[in-house]
Assembly symmetry: C2
């Protein structure tokens, strides 16, 4: 079974969230996953370089999940294995007043990956169908319209050469409790915590329901969602690396023809050896 | 001697470019530099995290140098040791027609690092006082004005909390010849070469003179230039890592006060253990 098949959500299906400790594919043990990760990393790095050389297509990784689900850790441990020249990281915070006055996709369009890049969205336009819904500000036809706009937007991106990989990092409320506690107990991690996190945790079931809607309505054939069990950090890293790798292998970027005569350039280089 | 003292250019001085194989400071041997690099990397990563947590200041690394001088390699090997969340990489190509219709600093202002980030410019606004000068399109009062505008711009950035580290990667024409030949001979590297590279190589002395002007006129107290001997890749990586590290140590970012009552939040977390 491929990593993508193991985690892909089928559009319109009655999405059942897996156990956040499931490991339906890949290494069963931490040590093995840790051993495998650098190999996945060097292949990722090589494929990204080809993508860059090819200079036409791009890949967009969308990371969503509850607080502490490991979006930052995934960026550090998975994208950290790829040449920084090829990675375009973008975090999405609460929209600013200026952003609120625009269409919700406005700020997203400004930070899309360029040709050759792997774009990483740490949260994304999906916040705009999660937070307002949980806060009771969005529902019914307006929510349905946003889902449609998102699907159309993502189809537009894929048509333009961007392959989209959307990952929901799925953790349990018990694991979140441990991680929040860990942040509060470590002076070097307290800055990552805000009282809002507790607020959002209080709405856990509402968020799960909102995610359920997102997975059900926006896991299209061109831009499917993958639900990655994320209670184990090592498994999460391995799984996201695997998703990216399978996607890039399928994209199969190639080094372009140089567009010049190699032998002639080598000869010219030799002739120009003595600088003027 | 600090790394910065070893490589800093003093404003207005009769800049003497060092031998591109010089090693005035640091490890004399490749094996030692390679051993030291991961340690420098983990301290860089930790300081960047503090900078991010502090959420006020930023660091901007400007990389300049002739083709094949190792700008890309420096990004891969030095910035690759820092969490991708904290790195904002930006390459500057030949200005587009739209960019040409704007002030030369226009495109630069749009991609400055945000608070907490290390911005990396792979080429920069300095191309605009190098290329047109070499091509005979810029000189005299107009060139002097651009230098002044650059100095004012960089002072503005530093006043706003961005520490600027400008690095000229200094290679010899002999080393460049080897590297260009290497690119032509390796099918996986041919995409990095264009016949323009040979064109620019033909103007080597003009470029050196143009760099001389840049170093002389824009190595200000707030934004000094560092000339790094770059014929040896391992030394170049070690040196740039050292420059960044000394700079970040001096910036001394600190984790901010949490701004909430830790004990109260821990208690609230425990109370909220059973989700509603």
């Amino acid at each position: 079974m491929t990593v993508r098949d193991a985690f892909r959500v089928v559009l319109g299906s009655g999405v059942e969230l897996p156990d956040p400790r499931d490991r339906p594919v890949g290494p069963g043990k931490k040590a093995k996953a840790r051993d495998e990760l650098p190999e996945l990393g060097s292949e990722l790095d090589e494929l990204q370089e080809r993508l860059f050389a090819e200079d036409g297509r791009s890949l967009l990784l969308v990371l969503q999940g509850m607080d502490t689900s490991g979006k930052g850790g995934t960026v550090r441990h998975v994208l950290g294995m790829v040449n920084p020249q090829g990675v375009r990281y973008q975090a999405f915070k609460k929209p600013t007043p200026a952003e609120r006055r625009q269409h919700f996709l406005w700020r997203v369009r400004k930070v899309l990956p360029a040709a050759g890049q792997i774009g990483v969205f740490d949260r994304s336009h999906y916040e705009d169908v999660l937070v307002p819904r949980v806060l009771g500000q969005l529902g019914g036809a307006k929510l349905a319209q946003r889902y449609e706009e998102i699907n159309a937007f993502e189809r537009e991106l894929t048509d333009a050469g961007t392959t989209i990989v959307k990952v929901f990092l799925h953790i349990s409320p018990e694991e979140q409790l441990e991680r929040l506690r860990g942040r509060l107990n470590d002076p070097a991690k307290r800055w990552k915590y805000t009282p809002d996190d507790l607020e959002a945790r209080g709405r856990w079931h509402d968020y799960q329901q909102a995610y359920h809607g997102v997975l059900k309505e926006t896991s299209t054939a061109v831009a499917p969602w993958y639900v990655v069990p994320a209670d184990r950090k090592w498994y999460r890293n391995w799984a996201v690396a695997g998703l990216l790798l399978e996607t890039l292998r399928e994209m199969a970027p190639v080094y372009p023809d140089p567009g010049y005569d190699v032998a002639a350039q080598l000869a010219a280089l030799d002739a120009a050896k003595a600088l003027p």
